[in-house]
Amino acid sequence: MDSTDLARAEHSARLRYEWARVRRSLIGFAPILIVVGVAVAIGRHRTATVCFGLATFVAGVAMLWYGREFKRAVLPGVAAGIVPLAMALCASHVEHGCTGDGCMMLCVPACTVGGIIAGLAVANIANERGRSVWFWVSASSIALLTGAMGCTCPGYPGLVGLVLGYGAGLVPTLLRRLFARPPAS
């Protein structure tokens, strides 16, 4: 077999490799659509929830397809993001006399506290396992997109609360890393 045929064979094998990874990612991340479905069914702003849900699905599939640190960030990111999602969805269904967007009584605090918990979780996992910055970025993206599906219930304040809470959750671990003493030589 000459080198041209070999190059063609390698190219064909590479395409099969990539397509197999795409198929594997689509199947592997399909269960998130159940979470999206539940969030759409329970949530108030269905269009926004669908948009964030689709964004989560696309981001997760892309990360799983690419592999490496991105792939390893997907499951922790989703698990962390489910906390603010669940808290926000529960808060929006508790009778608390809130109406309309910008409800500050339960929904926004739920998103903020959920965001803090999610941030702490991702930071802890990333720090304990010595993950790279790409892990932090990927896990954070997936966590925020997942949480955002529920935090659309109070509108934009919910999303802002989620992001600020998440950032606050990352701070302790980031500070610990920043001020960590170097190992004695």
């Binding site: 070999l6 390698e10 094998a13 590479r14 099969r16 490799y17 197999a20 990874r21 592999g67 490496r68």
Partner: protein
């Protein structure tokens, strides 16, 4: 040196499974030679061997993301290649007579040939290890003509089930249909 080579291909395959595309060409080149030689030795025909080797490489690399780093890469890859050769042989459905020019080559088995055969044998032994004691005893009695604890219809039935379970073990371990 062989252990280093095996470790190298295991490490490269693990990186490819993880998504490190920078090693793709290297994995392809490392696997192509042994795969092509195996197909040549099984099919005894250069054209068929090239076809089978190409299909095998596509299948191996298609399943690269499923590769389990706890297993050795070369037996896994060669088991897939052997399966492709058998599939091609069944599909073509013709008996090949050994050509005169190959007859002379079979006399001198290279160390690479031994390496390939060893890996295939290891793949078969791993699959055999997945079976129960009864199935193993039955297969040993059948293929190595040793005395079995049962005979006649009981042995035949056990043999059929054992072979079926061995096929299933091969499918589970090496991931081909």
């Amino acid at each position: 040196m062989k252990n280093e080579r095996e470790e190298e291909i295991d490490a490269l395959m693990a990186r490819l499974a993880d998504g490190d595309r920078s090693v793709f060409s290297l994995v392809f080149k490392r696997l192509w030679g042994p795969t092509h030689r195996l197909c040549n030795s099984m099919l005894k025909n250069e054209a068929d061997a090239s076809d089978a080797a190409q299909q095998a490489m596509q299948k191996i690399l298609e399943r690269a993301s499923d590769y389990d780093p706890k297993r050795r890469a070369m037996p896994w890859a060669l088991a897939l290649a052997a399966w492709e050769c058998r599939t091609l042989r069944r599909r073509r459905g013709r008996r090949r007579e050994e050509p005169e020019d190959i007859a002379g080559e079979t006399a001198s088995e290279s160390s690479e040939e031994d390496f390939l055969q060893r890996d295939l044998a290891q793949a078969a032994l791993v699959a055999l290890g997945e079976l129960s004691d009864v199935d193993r005893e039955t297969l040993v009695a059948t293929f190595w003509e040793e005395a079995a604890t049962v005979s006649g219809a009981t042995l035949r039935k056990r043999r059929e089930r054992a072979i079926e379970r061995l096929r299933g073990a091969f499918r589970r371990l090496y991931g081909f249909d």
